[in-house]
């Protein structure tokens, strides 16, 4: 296949998978938030913060999308690796890999949503557990952060601006 396909796939998958995962995560936590608020409106603020946590993965995906688009020239100027040479293909593959890394590690948004959902349950039973619930949910994000860091190293050292 042409290099453009891989580059575009990389960008799309980074934002796409991470975004989809984020929406699942936010969705799961949102259902829990709705349940908690249905019983007591005081749970709203705590539930809202917890529900927002799985959103970050989609941001990482979006940033990767823009970075890939920038370094490959899709954004500003023309596409740099249009020729199907080995060198260009390898660069395209690196970009695809970077995109995939962020996209797949972005899947951590789903378990994060599940943790947040359980956290919302715990917090509505005992509001004092709020901070703990946040920290537990934030643990799941570590993988996405590592993914983003890895992808950045790949993009900047492997392809460069």
């Amino acid at each position: 296949m042409e290099p453009i396909v891989y580059v575009a796939l990389g960008a799309a998958l980074a934002a796409g998978i991470a975004g989809a995962a984020s929406s699942f995560g936010v969705g799961i936590a949102g259902a829990a938030a709705a349940g908690a608020v249905a019983e007591d409106e005081k749970n709203f603020r705590n539930a809202l913060v917890l529900q927002g946590l799985p959103m970050t993965q989609s941001i990482y995906g979006l940033i990767t999308l823009f970075l890939i688009a920038l370094v490959s020239g899709i954004l500003g100027g023309g596409f740099k690796f249009a020729e199907p040479t080995t060198g260009n293909l390898i660069k395209a593959a690196i970009l695809l890999g970077a995109g995939l890394t962020v996209g797949l590690t972005g899947l951590s948004a789903i378990p994060q949503g599940i943790i947040a959902s359980a956290g919302i349950g715990a917090v509505s039973k005992n509001p004092k557990t709020f901070t703990q619930a946040i920290i537990f949910a934030a643990m799941a994000e570590t993988m996405a952060i590592f993914g983003l860091v890895g992808a950045l190293i790949l993009i900047i050292t492997g392809v460069g601006f």
Partner: protein
């Protein structure tokens, strides 16, 4: 700083007749944490009649408050009310013993309670009556499909009439079986209604016992026919008129309730607070012991408050008191409550430490370090001058509004203020003002580093900061353990990592040639040896020890790499800001004819986008800065297993006690 407040143990012995005033005095001062005495020589104290009354009045007062609250004119609501909450005026009460207070409340309730209760029960009975009429209307609406006058649906002397629903498929068998059992002596009307069948069956009264089990067998659901006359449709109109009348009456009663709320609400809240505090005192009594004439209590208080309390106690009891104050002994280490002590400007950060757990009395209070590193990490992750400014403004407003209350919001906004300060500093260093908005607009701003293009440098920076942070943690742990004479633990648990970190740093510095490689190795090797020794020391099976060594080592690496989130979040802020700016740049130029539509829409997107970006990134920075401290930093040295100081303290929001001393 670094050390919790010095505590002293206090033992008090005095006469029973001063008990109420001494307890009240301590309650109002709120600096003493009372602990249970287990003395076999005397019995535990228990609440007397007045204290028991206090508990029950507290409940009935709160019930009256709950009712009237719904009818009180709401003062300020919304955002303004949140930022600048109204301070409730404190009413003074001259305290002359619980007996007098109870009497006063009794005489107050004597008038107020029946008055409020009568309005309340009127509202309740009106509402239930309306509800009842509404259900009757619902039933009549069902019956209206039959178009039979309601009187005919009522049983007579010889006839029993049952009205109800049955499942569609059970209807025919039911009728068949009834006919068989009653020898055809029955009449019925039926209508199909919402998948069920509405049936009216008339049968002889003497046959009722035979029919009843059959009806039950087919799960016949009866409905109560309302006591009305005429055709259902006409009856419904009548009932609706009645409901309107009742509703008017209800509104009038609600107005009465509003008048009562105006008259009594504040006073009720005032008395309830007084009672609530009496109740708390009553609950504390079980920690005291007493004889016929005397009582004793014990507890902890900050050393600095000792002279004041001594003087107060002596005054109240006219010197008829024995007080013993002594410093804590090493055996009591696990019992001493811990009160954090920090300079005013970082006091708010104690909240973050307390959320994790306070240190033990002989351990170190990490708040001063946390105050600096937390706000710095927050700033590093947000890295935008303008975002910092937005947060600073919001936090400053909140801090102003809540200063007098000194509540959680005030502390939180103080934390945010510091964090916003670092955010602005980092924003200037990285040249970020709403991301790259200025650069895109063609204005050059000085910047040391571009977080996007210099991502790898930022990553290196983040990891270096992480290494330093961990090193601080291990060193603090080492110092504390040495001071508490746990040398072996200090050498085996903290020292290896300190050496390893020093080794890594010198190796890293040797690359550009600042130090020699041998120096790094000189640190690294003993560090690793010590680490392996500490792992092998454990009493797990050999294989597990090996696995634990490996897993602990990579645990450390994981902790360190975790600081990469500093860079990732910094980049995320820059990235989102850039995305907003790119979108704005794209729509900025759009015009429809002479109308520069793009500018208007662009401004909306710019403002909305950056506010969203501030919120979501600040949430991320807040959470992850906290996590780096709780998980990575505290993991190196901090237990948080101390007991928090919880003084015996009165809650005064609307009342103030004047005590005769």
């Amino acid at each position: 700083m670094f050390k919790p407040e010095e505590m002293a143990k206090i033992e008090v012995l005095s006469l029973n007749r001063y008990k109420d005033s001494i307890l009240t005095y301590l309650h109002e001062e709120g600096v003493l944490e009372i602990r249970e005495i287990d003395g076999e020589f005397a019995q535990k104290d228990a609440p007397n009649e007045f204290y028991r009354k206090a508990a029950s009045y507290s409940i009935s007062l709160s019930r009256l408050v709950d009712f009237l609250k719904g009818y009180k004119e709401q003062a300020k609501g919304g955002i303004k009310g949140f930022i600048f909450p109204e301070l409730k005026p404190k009413k003074k009460y001259r305290y002359e013993g619980i007996e007098k207070l109870i009497k006063e409340i009794e005489s107050f309730l004597e008038n107020a309670e029946p008055e409020i209760k009568s309005v309340e029960s009127k509202i309740n009975s009106l509402s239930t009556e309306i509800e009842r009429l509404k259900t009757e209307i619902e039933i009549l609406e069902l019956l209206s499909t039959l178009d039979i006058e309601v009187e005919y649906l009522k049983p007579t002397k010889n006839l029993e009439i049952v009205v109800g629903f049955v499942e569609k498929d059970k209807f025919l068998p039911l009728i068949e079986e009834l006919k068989k059992a009653l020898n055809d002596k029955l009449a019925y009307v039926s209508r199909d209604l919402k998948g069920k069948v509405l049936v009216v069956i008339a049968l002889l009264k003497k046959d009722y016992d035979k029919a009843n089990p059959i009806l039950a067998k087919y799960s016949f659901e009866r409905i109560e026919v309302p006591e009305v006359k005429g055709k259902p449709k006409d009856a419904i109109k009548e009932l609706q008129k009645e409901i309107t009348k009742l509703n008017e009456e209800l509104e009038a009663t609600k107005k009465e309730a509003k008048v009562l709320a105006e008259k009594y609400h504040d006073e009720l809240v005032f008395y309830q607070e007084l009672m609530e505090n009496e109740r708390e005192k009553a609950n504390m009594l079980s920690n005291l012991i007493r004889t016929n004439m005397t009582f004793a209590l014990t507890g902890w208080l900050p050393k600095k408050d000792v002279p004041k309390i001594m003087e107060g106690l002596n005054k109240i009891s006219h010197g008829k008191i024995y007080v013993n104050i002594r410093p804590p002994t090493p055996e009591e280490l696990d019992e001493i409550p811990v009160k954090l002590k920090n300079p005013k400007f970082i006091e708010s950060f104690e909240m973050l430490t307390e959320m994790f757990g306070v240190p033990k009395y002989n351990e170190l209070d990490p708040t001063p370090i946390l105050a600096f590193t937390y706000s710095f990490f927050f700033g590093f992750m947000l890295t935008d001058f303008m975002y910092g400014l937005i947060i600073a403004i919001v936090a400053a407003l909140l801090a102003m509004g809540h200063k007098k209350l000194n509540d959680g919001v005030y502390k939180f906004s103080n934390i945010l203020l510091w964090s916003a300060f670092f955010t602005m500093v980092m924003g200037i260093l990285f040249g970020s003002y709403f991301g790259d908005a200025f650069q895109r607009a063609g204005i050059n701003v000085p910047a040391l580093l571009d977080p996007m293009r210099g991502a790898l440098v930022v990553l290196g920076l983040a990891l270096a900061i992480g290494l330093l942070h961990l090193f601080i943690g291990y060193t603090l742990g080492f110092i504390v353990k040495i001071k508490n004479k746990e040398t072996a633990n200090a050498v085996l648990e903290q020292l290896p990592w300190m050496l390893i970190i020093l080794g890594v740093i010198s190796l890293a510095l040797s690359m550009p040639g600042f130090t020699s490689i041998t120096l790094g190795e000189a640190f690294l090797l003993p560090g690793i040896v010590l680490f392996v020794i500490s792992e092998i020391r454990s009493d797990l099976p050999i294989l597990m020890r090996l696995l634990m060594t490996i897993s602990d080592f990579f645990g450390f690496i994981g902790n360190w790499l975790s600081y990469a989130r500093l860079m990732a979040l910094a980049l995320a802020t820059a990235g989102i800001a850039m995305v907003v700016n790119i979108i704005v740049a794209m729509i900025w130029g759009i015009r429809i004819g002479p109308v520069p539509l793009g500018i208007a829409v662009g401004l909306v997107v710019f403002i909305g986008g950056h506010i969203f970006s501030t919120a979501i990134n600040a949430l991320g920075a807040f959470v992850h800065a906290l996590r780096l401290h709780y998980v990575e930093f505290f993991g190196t040295f901090y237990s948080g297993e101390g007991k928090k100081f919880e003084p015996f303290k009165a809650k005064r929001e609307v009342s103030e006690l004047e005590l005769e001393i």
